[in-house]
Symmetry: C2
Subunit: 428 residues, 2 copies
C-alpha cells in the first residue's frame, strides 16, 4: 500500500465548511435579490483568460500577483485577478448583443498570489455590480441606492457610505499645479485612515512642496454636512466645476428621496486605483469602522479602452464578501442556522422517507437518519447539525429539542405550523 | 495610442451572457432547493490544489487534461478537474469536524484541457451530491429519491433513471473467470449505447474468449421489469449475492414508496470509472435519450483512501449541468424570462427611483431607465430586455406591452396585483 498523501490545501487557500458556506451563500442570495430588484442581470466569464487580455501589453503592480502559466497549447494564460478587467473584455466582445445601458452583476472567485501574512487569501469571491453605457447622474445615484439597499439586507442598514469625486480632486490638484503628481498623491491620501495625517504628510512631501502638502491635508480633512464640505472643496479648488456640480445633483436626488443622511461627503476617499474618473464610494460598518471598506467603487470614463474604440462610461461597486463576513463574524451577526428543520429517525422499510416526503411536500427541509443506530446517537447527530425538531415514525411523534415538548400524531401540515410558530423571527 | 487587444476568450472557454446565465442560475437554484429539502449542506474547496493531492502519486488517463503549473512559491499546482477528488481530500482533512453520515452538495466550476472538437468545453460546472460515512441501502435509496426529485423540478419528471450494481457485475465476471479483465470489459460495455452490440463484441474479444463475450452481451442485454431482469442476472452470475440483495432491497423501498416505476434495472449501465463498487446510476431525458446521461453516480467503498486510513464509504451523483442545459434548449424548455417585471421611464429628479422604490417594496423587480432619451427608445430597451410592463411617473400610468392595456393612477399594490395576475403560470 502506498504512503498516504497529506490532505493539505495551498497556503492562502482554504476549505469552506458548511458553517462558513451556508452564511456565505445566504449573503450572496440577499445581494442577488437586491441586484435583481433593480433589474440587474447576471453574467459569467472564464476563470482563465489570455494573459494579454488580463494584463494588457505593459507590466504593472498587480502583475506579480497573477497566477500565470503556459497551457497545453502553448498559450500564455492567467487566472483572473478581478472581475472588472474580464467585464471590460466582455463588453468589448458583446456590446452589440446586450441592451445599453447594461446593468450587470457578477459574483465569482478571483485569484491573487498575494502576501498572506496580512490575513489575506489568495482565492476570494468578488460581488460586482455595474451600469455601463451612460454617464448620467441617475446611474451614479442608482449605484448609491443599491449600496444602501445592500447594507439594509446585509447589516440592517448599520453602515456609512463615504463618497467623494475624483474630478473635484483633480481640479484641486490642478489649482496647486500638481496634476502631474496625481498617482503619487492619490496613493498617499488613500492611506489616511490607516497611517494618519502625519505619515501621509511625509509621503506627500516626496512629491509636492510643503505648502502643497498642507493644502492637500486641508482638502482631505474637510468635515461637516454634505453641502458645507462641498463648499469648502469648491473654495479650495478654485470654484464650481463638473465634479462639484455632479455631487450637488446627487445630493439633491438623495434629499428628494429622503435618504441624504445615509451618505457622507468625505474628500479623503479617493480609491487608490487610477481608472476612476468621477464619483468614488467606500462603505464602513458602523460598529467596525477599522475593518476598512466592505463595499467600494466609483465611476470610470472608458471601461473597455484596451479592447475597443467604443466609449463605454460606467459606474459600479463591489462587495468585499470575505471582509464583510469577517466583520459579521466578529459582531456575532453571522447566521449559522441549519437548513434542516427536522430529522426523521431511522424507521422500518421506507417509513422514514415516506414521512420525510410528506414533510417536504409541506415545504419543510426534512432529513432522514440513514443508519440503524441507537436513538441517542441519532439525537446527537441532530444536535451536531443544529436541527431543532426530531420526528419518529412508530409511533408517529415529533419532539422540539429546545423546549423538550413532544406531540404525537400531528398531521404534516399541523407539524409544519408548529415548526414555523416556534422558529418565527429567526434569520434565514 | 497603443494597438487594441482582441477581446477573445480561450478555445474551449466561453462567456455566459444573461440569457444563458439566468436559466443556469435558475436550474442551480432548483437543485439547491432539492438538496436542502433533504438536509444536504453546501461546501466549497479551492479551485487550485497541490498536483499530488489531485492526481495522486501515479500517472493516469486524466492527467494529460489537467491544467498544471508551478506557482510563485515553486509549488506544483493544478486546477481541479472534478469535485470528487477535492471532496475526498476535504473528508480526510475534516472528517472529525462534520457530523457523519455527512450529506453535502457542491456546485462549482472544474477545468479540463479536453479536445474541444466534440463540442466539449474546458471549463464547466459540476453539481455533486453525496452521502459519506455509511454503506446502508437507505443512503443508496436517498440518492435515488433525490435524483427523481431533481428530475421533477428540472424536467417535470420526464426522465428515466437506469441503474445497476457493480457487485452483481463483478460476481458475474468472476463466474466467467474474467475478474482480471474487469477494467477492459467495463470500458467496452460502457460504450453499448454509443456504438452498438456488434462493436462492443469486437472490443470484448480483445480481452475475453468468444463464449465469454456472448455471455457478457447476454448479461448486459437483459431487459424486462426490475425483478425479472434481476432474476436473469442472478441466474447468469451463479445465484444471489450481496449486490443482488441490495438491488432487491432498493426495489422493495421504492415499491413501498410507490415510485418503483421511476427506475429501470439496466445491466448495461456500469459507469466507466473504476472507483464505483456498488449501485451505479445514469439518467436520460425521455425526449432525448441520445443526449446521454444528464445525472450519474454510484456507490464507492472508500472515498478518501489516498489521504487517510479512515474508511469512508459513500454514494452520490452529479448533474451534468451543461449537457442538461443543451438538452433543455433543444426541447425549448429553457426559461429565458427576464427578471425585471417593470421598467420605470426616466422622470424628473428622483421621481422614477421614488416610484421604483415603492414597487420594489411590493416585491416587484423594478428597473429605472437611466438616460434622458426619447420614450420610443426607452420602450425599445424594455423590449430588448424582455420587460413586459412599463411605468411612467408624470402622469402616473402603467402599460402592459403585451396586451397594450394602459392603467392610470394605480396604487403600487394594485399594480403588483395586475402584474401577478397577468404573468401567472409562467415559469421562474
Amino acid at each position: 500500500m502506498a504512503d498516504l498523501i497529506s490532505p493539505q490545501v495551498l497556503k492562502g487557500f482554504r476549505d469552506s465548511l458548511p458553517q462558513q458556506e451556508l452564511p456565505k451563500k445566504e449573503l450572496m442570495k440577499r445581494l442577488e435579490t437586491v441586484f435583481e430588484s433593480f433589474g440587474f442581470v447576471p453574467i459569467d466569464t472564464p476563470a482563465l483568460e489570455y494573459t494579454e487580455v488580463l494584463l494588457g501589453k505593459g507590466g504593472g503592480e498587480t502583475d506579480k500577483q497573477v497566477y500565470r502559466f503556459e497551457d497545453h497549447g502553448g498559450r500564455d494564460v492567467s487566472l483572473r485577478f478581478d472581475l472588472t478587467v474580464p467585464f471590460a473584455r466582455f463588453m468589448a466582445a458583446h456590446a452589440s448583443e446586450v441592451p445599453l445601458p447594461f446593468k450587470r452583476y457578477h459574483m465569482a472567485k478571483v485569484w491573487r498570489g498575494e502576501n498572506t501574512q496580512r490575513g489575506r487569501y489568495r482565492e476570494f469571491v468578488q460581488c460586482d455590480f455595474d451600469i455601463v453605457g451612460t454617464d448620467s447622474a441617475a446611474a451614479d445615484f442608482e449605484i448609491l441606492l443599491m449600496m444602501t439597499r445592500a447594507m439594509d439586507v446585509l447589516v440592517d442598514g448599520k453602515a456609512v457610505i463615504r463618497l467623494s469625486h475624483r474630478g473635484v480632486f483633480n481640479q484641486f490638484l490642478a489649482s496647486l499645479g500638481a496634476e502631474g503628481k496625481s498617482v503619487q498623491v492619490l496613493r498617499a491620501v488613500d492611506k489616511l485612515a490607516k497611517i494618519g495625517a502625519d505619515e501621509v504628510r511625509k509621503l506627500l512631501l516626496e512629491s509636492v512642496a510643503p505648502d502643497g502638502a498642507e493644502k492637500i491635508l486641508a482638502f482631505i480633512g474637510a468635515r461637516g454636512d454634505f453641502l458645507s464640505v462641498l463648499e469648502q472643496l469648491e473654495s479650495l479648488s478654485g470654484g464650481e466645476g463638473d465634479g462639484s456640480r455632479r455631487l450637488k445633483a446627487l445630493h439633491a436626488l438623495a434629499s428628494e428621496l429622503g435618504n441624504a443622511g445615509r451618505f457622507v461627503l468625505d474628500p479623503s476617499i479617493t480609491r487608490g486605483l487610477d481608472y476612476y474618473t468621477g464619483i468614488v464610494y467606500e462603505t464602513f460598518l458602523e460598529a467596525l469602522p477599522g475593518l476598512g471598506s466592505v463595499m467600494s467603487g466609483g465611476r470610470y470614463d472608458n471601461l473597455a479602452a484596451l479592447y475597443t474604440k467604443q466609449e463605454l462610461p460606467g459606474v459600479g461597486a463591489s462587495v468585499g464578501l470575505d471582509r464583510l463576513m469577517a466583520g459579521l463574524e466578529e459582531l456575532k451577526l453571522l447566521s449559522t442556522a441549519a437548513k434542516s428543520e427536522v430529522l426523521v429517525l431511522a424507521g422500518e422499510g421506507a417509513h422514514a422517507q415516506a414521512l420525510a416526503q410528506k414533510l417536504r411536500a409541506e415545504g419543510l427541509n426534512a432529513e432522514v437518519y440513514l443508519d440503524d443506530r441507537k436513538v441517542a446517537q441519532q439525537y446527537k447527530y441532530a444536535e451536531a447539525k443544529g436541527i431543532r425538531f426530531v420526528a419518529q415514525t412508530n409511533p408517529l411523534q415529533y419532539k422540539d429539542t429546545v423546549t423538550g415538548e413532544v406531540k404525537a400524531g400531528l398531521s404534516p401540515s399541523d407539524f409544519r405550523a408548529w415548526v414555523r410558530a416556534s422558529t418565527q423571527g429567526g434569520l434565514g
